[in-house]
Amino acid sequence: MTPDASSYLIISAILFTLGTVGVLVRRDPLIIFMCIELMLNSVNLTFVAFSHYLSSADGLIFVFMIMTVAAAEVVVGLALIVSIFRTREDIDVDQLDEMHG
């Protein structure tokens, strides 16, 4: 017997929370970015679990879409980070505070 669907859901929730916390506490944009990826993938896990549990293909298709989109985001995100890196020596997200108020 496969594990209960709820186990997958709990794991994915934990992963999602981890990712969220990571975004909030880390200052390196790359790490933050990876944490977001973690969140997306935890959602993927949820989709897969539901898909399996419901015997529905929709969830699986959704997972592929998320993966594709995540890849695209990596491209754009890294490009932005590189572009910023060109003008600044170190990249700490907390230094990006020119605009506020």
Partner: protein, 500 residues
């Protein structure tokens, strides 16, 4: 599930395809055309938008009834509701492109690249307005976001632009995660990502499934609704998910700000409506409370914070937050008038908000600090057209009759009162009074302060002049001529066809 693709199916995506094609075409010209690049690129993109508009109008004429091609399995729809928002989106895109060329030239942007990204974003938005499936919603939201990340950071030589792009990117991805997590939970609870199916399962207005009660009590649905609301609210800059808005608006190149300030909302609100008023319409008592609270907080925070801004773009960002609050009021009414008000709002909002950014843009194209409100002193003497038009936009944003801004607000609040939520309308109008504080400040500077000695005349250029004149005219015509309102009514009729 068998797949039948008919001409009607292609028809439904035709406007989107046209815009995508136009974007690709732009990329091609970018590669080959070197002379008069800006002019040619602008021409192509405007032509594309016009063509898409025609296609959309055709769809409107054809799809009088419930217009989703393949019953409950459809991913997207070509219904009038979607077309109506297409009009708004194409309009805002066109207006933004009309005023962009001088800015593109002064900032030394690659015009083809820049405009094609705007078209990609537009295509994503149109897709979103037409989507009938959570998957498409996600896909389109990412399509438009990706384009906007790049556009926000497009000015690589300006640290603010980079900062804007980066902030937008990080926070938007973060919020997207919440959105899709919510989608996942809804999917888990209902077994489908298709909105029509979800309606059936949750016992929307059609109310077909017996197990309604058990499904609803499932925490998945509730948390799913909540997380999806977070994702949408982020895109709509609803408090407390609004914090990116002023920074990104201020940092992004002004044409991009003008475009995204209207178009993003015009794209997300129909999806928001489809998900909440349609798919979750029967559950309005469950989500109403949260929208109610968000609307109130949004109206208050947006308007109060705008009071003390010295940057026009930030001011308009907060003003945009406040307007999102007004639209949320209409939406939370969850009735036909409310949906009509939402639809109507964005036609009007396109005119007045993009128009308001035009002033910043024109000044910045001349190399002035157009973002600083203090520089608008005596603008009337320097450029009567620009000042008068901006004045009209400000009064319209503030909701003065006979401008269309008044009518839009009127319908929105009337919907809330009709739904029995007079308190929303009262808070709405009181915060509108607060908003006068900052809109009128701009007017005061432009008209009532003497111009500084030696200030030069400002010429906006023919395209911008056309855009300003058209927007001003639009603001009077759209409000006073009932035809536009009736158009929105018809659009909403098709929207509710799903359930009746």
């Amino acid at each position: 599930m068998t797949i039948h693709l008919t001409a009607a199916d292609y028809g439904a995506v035709l406007p989107i395809m046209i815009v995508l094609g136009g974007a690709l075409c732009l990329l091609l010209t970018d590669a080959f055309v070197k002379v008069h690049e800006t002019e040619i690129a602008t021409g192509i993109s405007l032509a594309t938008l016009l063509l898409a508009f025609a296609a959309s109008a055709h769809l409107w004429a054809v799809n009088a009834g419930p217009a989703f091609p393949q019953g409950a399995g459809a991913m997207i729809t070509g219904d009038r509701f979607g077309q109506f928002f297409n009009f708004a989106l194409l309009l805002s895109s066109a207006l933004a492109i009309l005023i962009a060329p001088p800015y593109i030239r002064t900032s030394h942007f690659d015009a083809g690249e820049f405009l094609s990204l705007i078209l990609f974003a537009t295509a994503g938005m149109m897709l979103m307005a037409a989507s009938l499936n959570l998957m498409v919603i996600f896909l389109s939201i990412e399509l438009l976001s990706l384009a906007l990340y790049i556009l926000s950071g497009f000015d690589r030589n300006r640290p603010r632009s980079q900062e804007a792009g980066f902030k937008y990117f990080l926070l938007s991805s973060f919020a997207s995660a919440f959105l899709i997590y919510g989608m996942a939970l809804i999917y888990g609870a209902t077994g489908s990502t298709n909105l029509i199916r979800i309606v059936n399962v949750l016992g929307g207005h059609a109310g077909t499934v017996a197990s309604t009660h058990t499904v609803l009590s499932s925490p998945f649905v509730l948390i799913g609704i909540a997380l999806m609301a977070v994702g949408f609210a982020f895109k709509l800059s609803i408090v407390p998910f609004h914090m990116w808005t002023p920074d990104v608006y201020q940092g992004a190149p002004t044409p991009v700000t003008a475009f995204m300030s209207v178009a993003t909302k015009a794209a997300v609100f129909p999806a928001f409506l489809r998900v909440f008023n349609l798919a979750l319409g029967a559950e309005s008592h469950r989500w109403f409370g949260i929208l109610w609270a968000l609307a109130i907080v949004t109206m208050i925070v947006g308007n109060v914070l705008a009071l003390s801004q010295s940057s026009m773009k930030r001011l308009l960002a907060y003003s945009g937050i406040a307007h999102a609050g007004y639209v949320l009021v209409a939406m939370s009414a969850n009735n036909r008038l409310g949906a009509t008000a939402v639809a109507f709002y964005f036609i009007v909002y396109a005119f007045m908000n993009i128009g308001a950014f035009a002033l910043v843009l024109v000044l910045e194209s001349r190399g002035e600090a157009g973002d600083e409100i203090a520089t608008y002193r005596g603008l009337f003497a320097r450029s009567p057209l620009l000042a008068v038009a901006t004045g009209v936009f400000m009064f319209s944003l503030a909701g003065f009759p006979p401008t269309a801004g008044f009518f839009a607000k009127y319908y929105a609040f009337a919907a809330a009162v009709q739904a029995g939520h007079t308190e929303l309308a009262i808070i709405g109008v009181i915060t509108s009074v607060i908003s006068l504080g900052y809109y009128l400040r701009v007017v005061v500077l432009m008209f009532m302060q003497p111009v500084e000695a030696g200030a030069e005349q400002v010429r906006a250029g023919p395209l911008s002049d056309f855009m300003l004149t058209a927007s001003v005219a639009g603001l009077f015509v759209v409000g006073l001529v009932p035809w536009f309102y009736n158009l929105a009514v018809q659009a909403v009729q098709s929207f509710f066809h799903f359930t009746t």
